[in-house]
C-alpha cells in the first residue's frame, strides 16, 4: 500500500485508539450524502411530474399539426396523407375539418357557447390521438340508435347526425346523451329584408362525451363526422388540418420540414406545422424554468456539502498539525502530506456520494412503489428500540446531555405516540412528525458524538449496520407514494400519485459532479497542510 493511502485511511478510520470510523468522518459523509440524496430525489420528482404531464398531454394530442397559413381548405388530401405516412418517424396522419361554431340547445333562443368542432374519421383519428379511448358513449356519427330515437321524437326538425361533446362543455351546456344541439353553421342574407342575416342551423344529437381530463379539450371541443363537416361547409373532398403522430414526440420540432416537403404544397399556399410543444409552450416553459431553478438550488446544496468537507478537512488539518510537523521531520515530502489529506477528503466525498445515491434511490423507490406497508406502530417501536439502544450505549449517568435527551424524548413521544389520537389536520400532523424526526436525529447525533468513542470496535460496525437497517425499515413504513387525489391535486396534475422518474444519466452526472466538487474541496486544506513549516507545526499547541 502506498504511504499516503496508509496514513489517510488511518486518519479516516480512527481517533487515538484503534476503532472503526471516526464520528467526524461519519458526519461529513452524511453531509455529502444528504446533499446528493436530496438532489436525486427532487430531480426525480420534477422529472416525474414533467414526464407525467407530457404523457397525459401527448395521450390525446397530435405531435404535429399541418395546416395552411390561412387555415384554408384543400383537396387531394388523401395523397398528402399517404406521403406524410411514408416519412420516416411518422406513425399516422389524420385529416380534419377544423372550425369554430356557435351552439345552443334545442328550445333555447340564444347562442350559448362558441366551440371548436373537429370533423374526423374516428378510426383514423384513433391512430393519432387515441380518440376512441377517451369517448364515453358512442362515436358512430351516422347510425347510432340515439340518432334514430331523436329523429323519431323530433319529427319536425332535420337531424344531421351525431356529435361527441367535451364532457365539461356538456356539463356547462347542461345536455345529456340523446339531447339535440344546434350548430350555427353559416349566415345567409335575408332576401326579403336587406341587411339582415338568417343563420343556417344544423341539428346534432349528442351521442357521447369526450373525457380526457384535459381542460383544454373537455371544455371547448366537439367531434362530428368528417364527411358531415365537409357537407356543412360545402367543401366536399377537402380538409384544412392534418394531425400527425410521430414515433418520438420529442423529435417533433425537427420533423416539420420533412413533413412539409413530403406534402408537395405550392410555396404560395404557405404550409406550416405546429408542434405539441408550441401548442403547450407556456406550460413546458414553466416546467423548464422550474427545473433550471431547481438545478441551481441543487448545485448550491452540493456546494454546501463541499464546504462541509472542506471545513472538516481544515479541522483535521488543524488537529493534525503536529503530526504533519513530525511527518515532515521524518522526511515526508510536501506532496505526500498533500496526498494524505486529499485522499482522506476524496474518500469521504466518495462514500458520501455513494451513500447519498443509495438513499436517494431508495426514497425514489419507496415513493413509487405501492406495496402494503407495516403499521406505523411497528416503525414507532423500531424507533423506540433504536433510541433506547443509543441511550443504553451512551448513558450510565445523568448530565446536561441527558436533560437534552429528555426534552427531545418528550417532543418525540408527543409526535409519534400522541398525534395519532389527536384530531389534527394532516398537514399539522406531518409538520409535527417532521419536527419530531429532526429532533430525534439531532439527539442521536449529539449522543453519538459523545459516546461513539466509548464503543468497542466490534460494536461500532454492528451498531452502524443495525442502525441503517432500522432506519431503512422506518423509512419503508412511513414513506409511501404521495397521493395527489388526497391532496386534491389530481385534477390539476391529472395524475393519481406523485410521479417519480429516475433519470439514470442524471444520477451518474450528479455522482460525478459531487465527487468532483468534493475533490476540489480537498485541495485547499490539503495544500494548507503541505505548506506548514515543520518547526512551527511541531510547536503548534
Amino acid at each position: 500500500m502506498k504511504f499516503e493511502w496508509f496514513v489517510a485511511l488511518r486518519y479516516l478510520l480512527s481517533r487515538r485508539k484503534q476503532s472503526f470510523i471516526s464520528i467526524i468522518s461519519i458526519i461529513s459523509i452524511a453531509g455529502v450524502g444528504l446533499g446528493v440524496a436530496t438532489v436525486i430525489l427532487v430531480i426525480a420528482v420534477l422529472d416525474g411530474v414533467e414526464h407525467g404531464i407530457k404523457e397525459r398531454f401527448l395521450a390525446n394530442e397530435a405531435h404535429v399539426i399541418l395546416r395552411l397559413i390561412d387555415n384554408g381548405f384543400y383537396s387531394n388530401y388523401e395523397n398528402k396523407i399517404e406521403a406524410i405516412e411514408k416519412v420516416e418517424g411518422v406513425v399516422a396522419a389524420s385529416p380534419i375539418v377544423y372550425s369554430q361554431l356557435a351552439v345552443f340547445r334545442e328550445g333555447s333562443k340564444q347562442i350559448e357557447d362558441v366551440i371548436l368542432i373537429k370533423g374526423i374519421v374516428p378510426e383514423v383519428e384513433d391512430k393519432v390521438t387515441s380518440f376512441t379511448k377517451f369517448v364515453n358513449g358512442s362515436y358512430d356519427f351516422q347510425n347510432d340508435d340515439l340518432i334514430k330515437e331523436a329523429r323519431f321524437l323530433n319529427d319536425d326538425i332535420t337531424i344531421t347526425g351525431g356529435i361527441v361533446l367535451g364532457s365539461r362543455l356538456a356539463q356547462r351546456l347542461i345536455v345529456n346523451e340523446g339531447d339535440v344541439l344546434r350548430l350555427v353553421v353559416n349566415m345567409t342574407e335575408d332576401r326579403f329584408n336587406p341587411g339582415a342575416f338568417i343563420p343556417l342551423i344544423r341539428n346534432f344529437v349528442v351521442i357521447g362525451f369526450y373525457e380526457s381530463e384535459l381542460t383544454v379539450y373537455d371544455n371547448q371541443t366537439a367531434f362530428i363526422d368528417l364527411e358531415t363537416a365537409q357537407k356543412l361547409y360545402q367543401v366536399d373532398g377537402q380538409i384544412n388540418f392534418i394531425l400527425i403522430r410521430l414515433e418520438d414526440a420529442e423529435l417533433a420540432p425537427e420533423m416539420g420540414e420533412q413533413i412539409i416537403a413530403a406534402t408537395e404544397f405550392a410555396i404560395l399556399e404557405a404550409p406550416t406545422t405546429t408542434t405539441w410543444l408550441e401548442t403547450h409552450a407556456a406550460l413546458f416553459q414553466a416546467l423548464k424554468l422550474e427545473k433550471i431553478a431547481t438545478v441551481i438550488i441543487e448545485a448550491l446544496i452540493i456546494l454546501v456539502a463541499a464546504f462541509n468537507i472542506a471545513s472538516t478537512l481544515i479541522m483535521t488539518v488543524m488537529e493534525k498539525t503536529r503530526d504533519v510537523g513530525m511527518l515532515r521531520t521524518l522526511g515526508a515530502s510536501r506532496r505526500q502530506v498533500m496526498g494524505i489529506f486529499m485522499i482522506k477528503g476524496s474518500i469521504i466525498g466518495m462514500l458520501g456520494t455513494l451513500a447519498g445515491t443509495a438513499l436517494g434511490l431508495y426514497i425514489c423507490w419507496l415513493l413509487s412503489t405501492n406495496v402494503m406497508r407495516p403499521s406505523p406502530w411497528i416503525a414507532n417501536a423500531c424507533i423506540g428500540i433504536l433510541s433506547c439502544s443509543v441511550i443504553g450505549i451512551a448513558y450510565r449517568r445523568i448530565d446536561t446531555v441527558s436533560v437534552v435527551f429528555i426534552i427531545f424524548a418528550i417532543i418525540f413521544s408527543i409526535n409519534m405516540f400522541i398525534t395519532p389520537f389527536l384530531v389534527l389536520s394532516s398537514t399539522m400532523r406531518t409538520v409535527l412528525i417532521i419536527l419530531g424526526v429532526i429532533a430525534l436525529l439531532i439527539f442521536w447525533i449529539v449522543v453519538l458524538i459523545k459516546s461513539w468513542q466509548k464503543l468497542s470496535s466490534i460494536w461500532k460496525p454492528t451498531f452502524l449496520a443495525l442502525g441503517l437497517l432500522a432506519i431503512g425499515f422506518i423509512f419503508f413504513c412511513y414513506i409511501k407514494p404521495i397521493s395527489l387525489e388526497e391532496l386534491g391535486l389530481s385534477a390539476i396534475y391529472q395524475m393519481n400519485q406523485l410521479p417519480i422518474k429516475v433519470n439514470w444519466f442524471f444520477v451518474c452526472f450528479i455522482n460525478m459532479l459531487s465527487f468532483a466538487i468534493c475533490w476540489l474541496a480537498t485541495i485547499y486544506p490539503a495544500w494548507q497542510a503541505s505548506n506548514l513549516k515543520p518547526i512551527e507545526a511541531l510547536q503548534y499547541e
Binding site: D323, L327, T329
Partner: protein
C-alpha cells in the same frame, strides 16, 4: 578523529516586525563521527534553534553547515526533504509520536516514506514495507519494547514513548541523531533507562548523537560537552 558535521559561523535571527532578535551569533562547532556530543546552556539561549538548523528543519540567517563536505544550507526544499529522511534522526522533548499509529508503525514510518522514493539499499535491492517493519521490530527489541509492538502511544508510559521515539530516529541509519532534551519530560528513574538505551546504541552501532540537555547526568555520559552562551559556543 573524523569530522562528520562542521558548523561554520552560524547566525540566526528572528524578526518580529522591525525588531530583530539575534539568537545565534556565530556558532562554530565540529561534530565527530560516532561521538555523543552534549550541548548545554541556559533556557532560551537558542539550543533548540541550533538543533533545528543542524537538522535542516530551519534555515540559518548566515553561515554554513557541512555534512562530510556537503553544504546543506544550499540545498533546495526537495533535497532537504530527502536529506531529512536519509540522514537525520530526531528525538524531541515531547515524544511527538503519531497517535493513530502503533509503536511498530511509528518506528517504521520513516522507512515507509523512504520506500516511496524508490531508493535501493547497498545490495541494489529496493526497500519494501515488510523490510521496514522487520527493522522496526528489531529496533524496538533493542530498546527493550518487544512486548509493545502493537500498542498505541496512549497505551505507553512516558519513558516507553521516548524509547519508541529513539527507535524511530534510527530506522534509516541516519548520519546523526539529534535529541532535544530527551529526558526533559520524564522522571529520573525512567530517564536512566532512556540514557542506557542511547549509550548502548552509540556503542553498538557507532551512531553519532547530538544531545541538547540541562541534565548533568546526561552530559556526564557524553563523550564531549559544549556550552552555548550568548549565541556562541563557549570556549572549553
Amino acid at each position: 578523529m573524523e569530522t562528520l558535521i562542521r558548523i561554520d559561523n552560524l547566525h540566526k535571527s528572528f524578526y518580529d516586525g522591525d525588531t530583530e532578535l539575534k539568537v545565534l551569533k556565530g556558532v562554530n562547532l565540529d561534530v565527530h563521527q560516532a561521538e555523543v556530543l552534549a550541548i548545554m546552556g541556559a533556557s532560551g539561549v537558542g539550543k533548540s534553534t541550533l538543533l533545528h538548523i543542524i537538522g535542516t528543519l530551519d534555515r540559518p540567517t548566515e553561515g554554513n553547515i557541512f555534512y562530510e563536505d556537503e553544504d546543506v544550507t544550499t540545498f533546495s526544499e526537495r533535497e532537504l526533504t530527502r536529506f531529512r529522511n536519509d540522514a537525520i534522526g530526531f528525538v524531541f522533548q515531547f515524544h511527538q509520536l503519531l497517535p493513530e499509529f502503533t509503536a511498530l508503525e511509528n518506528v517504521a514510518m520513516s522507512g515507509l516514506i523512504r520506500n516511496t522514493r524508490k531508493v535501493a539499499d547497498e545490495n541494489g535491492n529496493r526497500y519494501s514495507s515488510s523490510k521496514a517493519y522487520e527493522k522496526a521490530e528489531i529496533l524496538l527489541e533493542s530498546v527493550g519494547l518487544s512486548e509493545r509492538l502493537g500498542h498505541f502511544p496512549s497505551q505507553l508510559s512516558g519513558g516507553e514513548r521516548q524509547r519508541v521515539a529513539i527507535a524511530r530516529a534510527l530506522i534509516n541509519q541516519p548520519k546523526v541523531v539529534l535529541a532535544d532534551e530527551p529526558t526533559g519530560n520524564i522522571d529520573d528513574k525512567t530517564s536512566g533507562a532512556v540514557l542506557d538505551v542511547l549509550q548502548d546504541i552509540n556503542e553498538r552501532l557507532k551512531q553519532t548523537f547530538i544531545i541538547v540537555t540541562h541534565d548533568s547526568r546526561l552530559s556526564e555520559r557524553a563523550n564531549r560537552t559544549v556550552h552555548l552562551v550568548d549565541g556562541k559556543i563557549a570556549d572549553e
